[in-house]
Amino acid sequence: MKLLNKIIPFFEAATQREDRHPFFDQIEKLFSNKTGLAGLIIITFFLAIALFAPLLTPYDPIENALYEQLKPPIWESGGAIKNILGTDDLGRDILSRIIYGARVSITVGIVSVGIALFFGAIMGAVAGYYKGWLDNLIMRLMDILLAFPHILLAIVIVAYLGPGLKNAMIAIGIITIPRFARIVRASVMEEFEKDYVTAARAAGATDFRIIFNAILPNCMAPIIVQASLGFGSAILDAAGLSFLGLGAQPPIPEWGAMIASGRSMILRAWWVMTFPGIAILFAVLGFNLLGDGLRDALDPRLRD
């Protein structure tokens, strides 16, 4: 307590200086926003279990233990402390697999959102900056991508690329591009008119420099919000693809694939498919909450 009393005034002094970076204002806003904070806590939790998975789990997530098949969770009759959430049909500990599954889902989020952000930001920035036919071309392309209902396009892309986690991540990245392209384009168009851009141009900066060094840093707020929401939907889509057998292949401990494998024994062993679903629910909820909180904190204009 004493230590805390010393730290808080120091923190306040540091953060209440008039010349402090606006970044701290936004962090403060995020922490005072209950939704955002709740999301941040959930995500931190998942990041932690993903990071420390080998330390947290007593069992290997992949190795079979044929004598331990379909053990129920601890509170059911026949359950034991060894396998708190029970085991699956190959005797693997469900909890261990869920913990390792966090690694897979977070990877999916990073890779898919990374692909979408990279291409989306470039296309959106180019469209918004150059306008004219280039803008038209890029936006028509985005319209075509948006003409496919969300997961359908991912399924089709995987159907042609072949099933697997890597292709699923690529597919989810592709279908998420329009989201970022549209938002970046709108922000770039808005910033384009401002004096600092004119100043940069007058100073002789190249287009590349103006777009990436001057304009884009000022468009970060909506991009970050979309990235958080996109992370959630990427996890959801990847789970859906893996559930259909088009994403992660066995024995990878992916949550959607775990649900698929539990489907055939739904009556005998309800726990095999139930708990991975709860994990998906919480992880996605975390990113949605964070996204909503960030939107309120960073970009009040976007509030619904």
Binding site: D143, L152, G240, L285
Partner: protein, 334 residues
């Protein structure tokens, strides 16, 4: 208004062309001989040659695309690899099932979404508002296929209230006219079959309706909150109108305009999103068919199904746009 409708409709054409280009080139860039891909591994040399001729494989790519486009416009989508039936016929058999499921899910989510949204808006920050907002956040975060399985486990396998899968019981007789079973049962006044159909559709429709329900209730809430702040609502209050009358006669009219748009857009999404739900509940619609096509690598099914779903999605969105302009004279037609 008429000019707006024409312009908006014409603007759809490049998008639809783009869809056909995507579908066409997906096959073109897939490694392997397209004729072999489309006919499967067991194809004879003769049928392969015939297919190559049919696709125009010896001609340049843009002519191949032109031929493809011509066939699509004529609704000639070829034959499936596995069942050797015309793709257009398979679609005709299955699409009504998908539309029926999406419509029922839409009715559920619109009714309850609007209802919850209105209650939340009129009693802002009450426990109901709180629960329904948290509920809608959970609703959009949930994997629908998992929720479907949980419904199945609870309401079908454990409680036995609903059948587990399918569209109609095997021992139920129904004269199929429109292929919309609910409508067929009503037309033929076959009440036991109607009950059976409703019991079959209940769980998949309920599972499918969660996401739109969450979105519609959120949208209704925020839209109603905005409308309730307007001066004309204060006037209505000041002249002593009852709350019910204010909400349903004055506020709802304006509050529902954006909600209707959202409902329309969600319907389009449901047509495509039904793939997972249909697969879980063995619902014999286009989604499950398309998924099976993917698993069996039946490229004819993939092409036909993708074109169908994407086209209906684009058309539904077009209709929503037009509807929005019609019901909201304020934004008309710029």
């Amino acid at each position: 208004m008429f000019g707006f409708i024409i312009r908006r409709t014409l603007a759809v054409i490049p998008t639809l062309l783009g869809v056909t280009i995507v579908v066409f080139f997906m096959l073109a860039i897939t490694p392997g001989d397209p004729a072999e891909l489309l006919l499967g591994e067991r194809a004879t040399q003769e049928s392969l040659d015939a297919m190559r001729e049919y696709l125009g494989l010896k001609k340049p790519l843009y002519i191949q695309y032109g031929m493809f486009l011509k066939r699509v416009v004529q609704f000639d989508l070829g034959e499936t690899i596995w069942s050797r039936q015309k793709v257009s016929i398979e679609i005709k058999e299955r699409f009504p099932a998908t539309i029926e499921l999406a419509l029922v899910a839409m009715v559920i989510s619109s009714f309850f979404g609007v209802l919850f949204g209105i209650i939340s808006a009129t009693k802002q920050y009450s426990w109901f508002d709180y629960v329904s907002m948290v509920g809608s956040l959970i609703g959009v975060s949930m994997p629908v296929f998992w929720l479907g399985l949980i419904f199945m486990l609870l309401f079908s396998l454990t409680l036995g209230w609903f059948p587990m899968s399918g569209r109609i019981g095997i021992d139920t007789n129904l004269q199929v006219i429109t292929n919309f079973y609910i409508i067929d049962a009503i037309i033929t006044r076959n009440w036991p079959a109607l009950m059976d159909c409703l019991r079959h559709i209940a769980l998949p429709a309920l599972a499918l309706s969660t996401i739109p329900l969450a979105i519609v209730s959120r949208m209704t809430r925020s839209s109603m909150l905005e409308v309730l702040r307007q001066d004309y609502i204060k006037t209505a209050k000041a002249k002593g109108l009852g709350q019910m009358k204010i909400i349903f006669k004055h506020a709802l009219r304006n509050g529902l305009i954006p909600v209707i748009t959202v409902i329309g857009l969600q319907f389009g999404i449901l047509l495509g999103g039904a793939i997972l739900t249909e697969t879980v509940f063995a619902w014999p619609g286009v989604g499950k068919w398309l998924y099976e096509g993917v698993v069996k690598r039946d490229y004819m099914v993939i092409q036909g199904g993708t074109l169908l779903v994407a086209t209906s999605f684009v058309i539904v969105n077009l209709l929503v746009d037009i509807l929005y302009a019609v019901i909201n004279p304020r934004i008309s037609v710029k």
